[in-house]
């Protein structure tokens, strides 16, 4: 078999267990985005242009809450900051590639594609075809996300509108936050951010959210360094 194709398929295979987890997320996102008031086209375009699950949930929630556009954009950026870490982490492995490859792989650099790819790079080391592995992992995730978002958008039209689907967003965030609350700095960071968000709820332009996030990040980082 062509070594490029072989590497590509290995990437798809390594990604596939993660796809099983991503699929229901896409369904929930699609249904939730419509429940939050996005049009079907906007909900689907968000999946292909922003293409970052948790930030899409956050954006849908903020659109539902009528937050101003600038606050939503800022929040998307803050939620996606971690991608800079992924970018730094894969950079040495794809440094030799032409610019168009770098742009394509950067676009596909999601949590799940990163997870599968970096394990491959660390275990197998660098090979001449390993960017095809990255492409296989990234592209299979991309396809799964687009298809499951679309199905979710379709599902929303089938599910009775009395169902409180908008509640899926905070539930998803609970499912993401609780398992990472393993040490004191993270717990303190989460609790302080939650408390400030309640106290500062009435600040204009939903700025309470940004303030609360900053307080949580500072408190967590401070406690971590005091240890």
């Amino acid at each position: 078999m062509n070594p490029k194709l072989k590497s590509f398929l290995a990437g798809v295979r390594a990604e596939s267990p993660l796809l099983v987890g991503v699929f229901p997320f896409g369904l929930i996102y699609g249904a939730l985005a419509l429940a939050a008031g996005l049009s079907a086209a906007a909900a689907q375009m968000m999946s292909s242009i922003v293409f970052a699950g948790s930030s899409q949930f956050v954006a849908a929630q903020l659109i539902h809450d009528d937050a101003p556009g600038l606050v939503i954009v800022l929040t998307i950026a803050v939620v996606n900051l971690r991608h800079m870490l992924y970018s730094a982490s894969v950079a040495p492995y794809i440094e030799h590639l032409p610019q168009r490859w770098k742009i394509l792989l950067a676009y596909l650099l999601t949590d799940e594609a990163y997870a599968a790819t970096i394990i491959h790079y660390e275990e197998e080391g660098f090979t001449p075809t390993s960017h095809w592995f990255f492409l296989g992992a990234g592209l299979s995730l991309w396809t799964t996300w687009q298809v499951s978002s679309a199905l979710g958008i379709f599902l929303r039209k089938v599910i009775p509108s009395s169902w409180p689907l908008d509640f899926a967003a905070p539930l998803t965030f609970i499912a993401l936050v609780v398992p990472v609350c393993r040490d004191k700095p993270v717990v303190a960071s989460a609790l302080s951010a939650g408390l400030v968000a309640l106290l500062a709820f009435n600040l204009p332009f939903k700025l309470g959210l940004i303030l609360a996030a900053l307080v949580g990040i500072v408190i967590g980082t401070y406690l971590e360094n005091r240890k």
């Binding site: 375009m45 770098k102 509640f167 990040i217």
Partner: protein, 107 residues
């Protein structure tokens, strides 16, 4: 909202920019250690700041009463997330809890 497309385009451009950042800057710039450390707290802080009002202020004012079903269902979800660490199970449990509460008390 009219500027929803602008939000999607800008949000997408920023996200792509961050994904491209160090791939582009490789060898020219290192992330400071303190920033790396702070990044770990971004998801729990941002998400908790969204969770708290969604549970405690479902109608934009603080509601600590028993009739705040979202708060009850949220605690069910927190418990399930803590015990199982299973994302999908957490969402399903919280949603079912809210549906049952709303159904029983037919508000």
């Amino acid at each position: 909202m009219n500027n929803i497309w602008l939000v999607i385009l800008l949000g997408g451009a920023l996200t792509f920019g961050m994904r491209m950042s160090f791939i582009y800057l490789f060898g020219r710039f290192e992330i400071p250690a303190l920033v790396k450390q702070a990044l770990r707290f971004v998801p729990p802080a941002v998400l908790s700041a969204i969770i708290a009002p969604a549970l405690f202020m479902p109608n934009n004012t603080l509601d600590l009463s028993w009739s705040n079903y979202r708060l009850m269902a949220g605690f069910v979800a927190i418990l399930v997330a803590w015990r199982t660490k299973n994302t999908l199970l957490t969402i399903v449990a919280g949603m079912i809890a809210l549906l049952i509460l709303q159904f029983i008390f037919l508000k």
